[in-house]
């Protein structure tokens, strides 16, 4: 047991260093979002600003930028998206984890192939707009690109193959359980860690996505998610600063945007809900799986 104690101390040491490395820039991001914009430009980002200011947040939450509404859209989208993505991914991954299933290799190959090749932006856009007609609707946020990806399927399949022993499944079949029942009452409980992982990955992907809104929501800005809203602000700022010499007349109202601090404040606004929600997902990562009970 002494070796275990040493290991624990060592782990704490290392993880504290890692956490600090991750945390320090985050704190810098937070303090600079609260620094007066002019000071940021004049003397750079600092942990101890001389002049504090909440103007960046006022700017983001000011009328016209309905951040609260967008939070709502983001939450609904992330919730729905995660549930759907998790379902589709799990079903497909479980199917291709069956070694004897005819066609399994073809399907697996098709999945890996889809991770490597893509038709590009224009053809994808044409399919979704002209064929499926989901432009300017909530579907446009939910469906394109995000609903399932090969990486998650492969990840999950690998877990099924390596962590769910065949003997357990066989035992269930011998007991007379149907395929569906085995899946629901044996496989799913044993797969909590990977389900939590994929749910987290899908959730992060939905929460962070802005591309779909950027491309498909040209008229329905009321469907903008938080990331769309933040990205629009950010990209517009960038567009302005980059093309100010081409767009010679960039008008007066624009220089009123506190660019440097708003950028940081936007990052804080975008990341906050994740910090709040994450601990709830986390409980599935805490305990390992014990096969003993199932084998029983």
């Amino acid at each position: 047991m002494r070796s275990d104690k040493k290991f624990q101390i060592f782990s704490h040491g290392v993880l504290i260093v890692f956490s600090l490395l991750a945390l320090m820039p985050m704190i810098l991001m937070f303090t600079s979002s609260l620094t007066d914009n002019s000071e940021l430009i004049a003397s750079g980002y600092t942990y101890f600003p001389k002049k504090w200011s909440v103007y960046a947040y006022e700017y983001i939450f000011s009328t016209g930028n309905s951040v609260v509404h967008a939070y709502g859209i983001s939450l609904i989208l992330t919730f729905l998206g995660t549930v759907l993505a998790l379902t589709i991914t799990t079903l497909l991954a479980y199917a291709i984890s069956k070694k004897d299933m005819p066609g399994r290799k073809v399907i697996t190959f098709l999945i890996v192939f889809s991770m490597l090749f893509n038709g590009g932006l224009v053809p994808t856009y044409i399919i979704y707009t002209n064929l499926l007609g989901i432009k300017n609707s909530f579907w446009a946020l939910l469906v394109p690109g995000l609903l399932m990806n090969g990486f998650n399927v492969m990840l999950m399949k690998s877990y099924f193959v390596s962590s769910i022993p065949e003997e357990i499944l066989d035992a269930a079949y011998i007991d007379g359980a149907s395929e569906t029942r085995t899946f629901l009452s044996v496989v799913i409980p044993l797969s909590k860690p990977i389900l939590a992982t994929i749910a987290l990955f899908a959730g992060i992907a939905y929460w962070n996505d802005w591309m779909n809104g950027y491309i498909y929501l040209t008229k329905r800005t009321d469907l903008y998610s938080v990331q769309n809203l933040l990205n629009r602000m950010m990209q517009n700022i960038q567009f302005l600063s980059q093309s100010s010499s081409n767009v010679q007349n960039a008008n007066v109202g624009l220089s009123a945007i506190p660019m440097a601090s708003v950028r940081m404040a936007m990052a804080v606004v975008g990341i906050l809900p994740i910090i709040i929600i994450y601990p709830f997902v986390q409980k599935y990562f805490v305990k390992g799986i014990t096969l003993g009970g199932v084998k029983g």
């Binding site: 098709l110 002209n130 950027y214 220089s255």
Partner: protein
């Protein structure tokens, strides 16, 4: 497995083909029928063709109970404004009367506009008229997004009013290969190069005597680079904590009369008013003078050590109070604008000369989608955008009495309880609108700003001989990519004076030549010679 894959791919092809091809077929049909009907209309003598087209559309609307719609797209800074639907209704109510169509403005935010509009134009969605500010005029023409505006007498028969507001040589400036694909927005095309803007407080603090400078025709102080050096030295001494000059890579574009003919500086006209010889600007005296100047300034400590990496706008830096001066280009009423941007009174010094480059007029014209279903209606709406004050006011400013109110002198100001933060319609992109001067003038600007700008354009003494030359460089995409990368790799250091100019310029030029500059320039020269014939 192979067989299976082959079958799958084939079926995919078939489905997509059906989806894609079916669409294009539709389009061609409607288009040819539209052209036919214009021929039929010629036989009808009583009305002009334009009136006939309007009457036909109204009759059609009466039958179906629905007016056909023309979609007009451009960008603003915040995406579709909250009041857009209301403005579109007002607009359509007016155009149903005058043109027999509904008009829908489709406003997309600036960051997404370029990608979104290209996708819409590529996929055959309905956009009839669009601003090329964002994707770029040549990109749109090269990708085949744009319709020929003069085909079958379209412009002559249905957009004649445009010719009254846009001078014919400005039309010609937008021709590509002889065809007219766009109508330039009415704005300032000429620039007064090298307008050095200095915070007035810093000039006073450094004790600069302004009385010795004369003024130019725009009312700015006329001075030389020696005078600027002198002022910078005094300012640096008086404000040692502040950085003198806020840099941006605009020495050539705003600080010289070198013409980036054909869309880039890899082969430029050094004396564009007199000669059509394509030369390497990076070996020229003009560029060397700039590099020497910046090297001198950098050595003297006028330039920030972060000049290469700092992505903040030049005026935003001055606004922060850490920087004192910058360079832009002048035009009528510029001092007000730059003072607003920099958050303090600025004094503008004119060190350059007036100039109109070959691409000044054609930088972002308004175009018609090649797949538009009714080119005639689209042309008539385009004409209205340039000439009908009701349409122009709605598009530029929103609804009278809500977004704005009219003063007795015809200038306008915010409507009751409205300002830039809560206005439901405030695109704030006057300079890309078809004709901002057909609409009201904002309070504080001269009522005749339109005439002033027109005079500024028309009287510009240094106009590029290549005005209207455009070049499709897609044959040389590989060379262009290499050149662009070579420029980015070696230019930054030397243009901001971080390396000794002699050595830096040699390094830059060697890299550009190795990247194929000479071949690229020769191709450009050839195209230019052919155009000039």
């Amino acid at each position: 497995m192979k067989k299976f894959l082959a079958t799958l791919l084939a079926s995919v092809m078939v489905v997509s083909c059906l989806a894609g091809c079916g669409k294009t077929d539709d389009k061609t049909e409607t288009k040819s029928s539209a052209v036919e009907s214009s021929v039929v209309a010629t036989a009808d003598g009583e009305m002009t063709l334009a009136q006939k087209a309007i009457a036909d559309r109204k009759a059609e609307a009466e039958k179906t109970g629905k007016y056909e719609k023309i979609v007009v797209s451009f960008f603003d800074w915040t995406g579709a404004p909250a009041g857009l639907d209301r403005i579109n209704q007002k607009l359509s109510a007016h155009t149903e009367e005058t043109l027999g169509v509904d008009v829908e403005l489709l406003i997309i935010d600036s960051a997404a506009y370029s990608d979104d509009i290209k996708l819409m134009l590529s996929s055959g969605e309905q956009v009839d008229l669009f601003s090329t500010c964002g994707p770029g005029y040549m990109t749109c023409v090269n990708n085949g997004y744009t319709a020929d505006l003069e085909e079958n007498g379209l412009l002559d028969n249905y957009g004649a009013g445009l010719k009254d507001v846009v001078r014919s040589d400005y039309f010609d400036a937008c021709r590509v290969g002889g065809k007219l694909f766009g109508v330039p927005p009415i704005k300032d095309y000429a620039i007064q190069t090298a307008a050095v803007c200095i915070g007035t407080e810093y000039l006073e603090g450094a004790g600069v005597d302004l009385s010795k400078f004369g003024k130019d025709s725009l009312g700015y102080y006329k001075c030389t680079w020696e005078d600027i050096d002198d002022m910078f030295a005094k300012m640096h001494a008086a404000f040692p904590d502040k950085i003198v000059y806020s840099t941006q890579d605009n020495m050539l574009s705003q600080g010289s009369c070198v013409d980036p003919v054909g869309g880039d500086y890899y082969g430029s006209l050094l004396d564009p008013a007199n000669s059509l010889k394509v030369e390497n600007v990076y070996e020229s005296e003009i560029f060397k003078t700039w590099c020497d100047r910046f090297y001198r300034w950098n050595q003297a400590g006028y330039i920030s050590g972060d000049a290469l990496t700092d992505k903040n706008g030049a005026s935003a830096r001055i606004k922060s109070g850490a920087y004192m001066a910058m360079m832009a280009c002048g035009k009528p009423a510029y001092e007000n604008q730059i003072s607003g941007e920099c958050g303090r009174p600025m004094t503008v010094f004119d060190v350059g000369e007036p100039f109109m480059s070959s691409s000044a007029v054609s930088s972002f014209p308004w175009c018609m989608n090649q797949s538009t279903e009714d080119p005639i209606a689209a042309m008539q709406v385009l004409e209205a955008l340039y000439t009908d004050p009701v349409v122009a006011n709605l598009a530029c400013w929103g609804e009278e009495g809500v977004e704005y109110v009219v003063n007795p002198d015809t200038t306008i100001n915010w409507g009751p309880g409205v300002d830039s933060t809560n206005s439901e319609y405030y695109p704030n992109v006057l300079w890309l609108m078809p004709n901002q001067y057909a609409a009201h003038v904002w309070e504080g600007d001269p009522v005749d700003v339109g005439e002033q700008t027109a005079a500024f354009n028309d009287n510009c003494p240094v106009k590029s001989k290549a005005l209207g030359f455009t070049w499709d460089n897609s044959e040389y995409a590989a060379t262009y990519t290499t050149l662009q990368n070579a420029y980015e790799e070696y230019a930054g250091k030397v243009i901001y004076g971080f390396v000794e100019p002699e050595a830096g310029l040699k390094e830059l030029n060697d890299a550009l030549k190795a990247a194929g500059l000479e071949e690229y320039m020769a191709a450009k020269q050839k195209a230019l010679d052919e155009w000039a014939k």
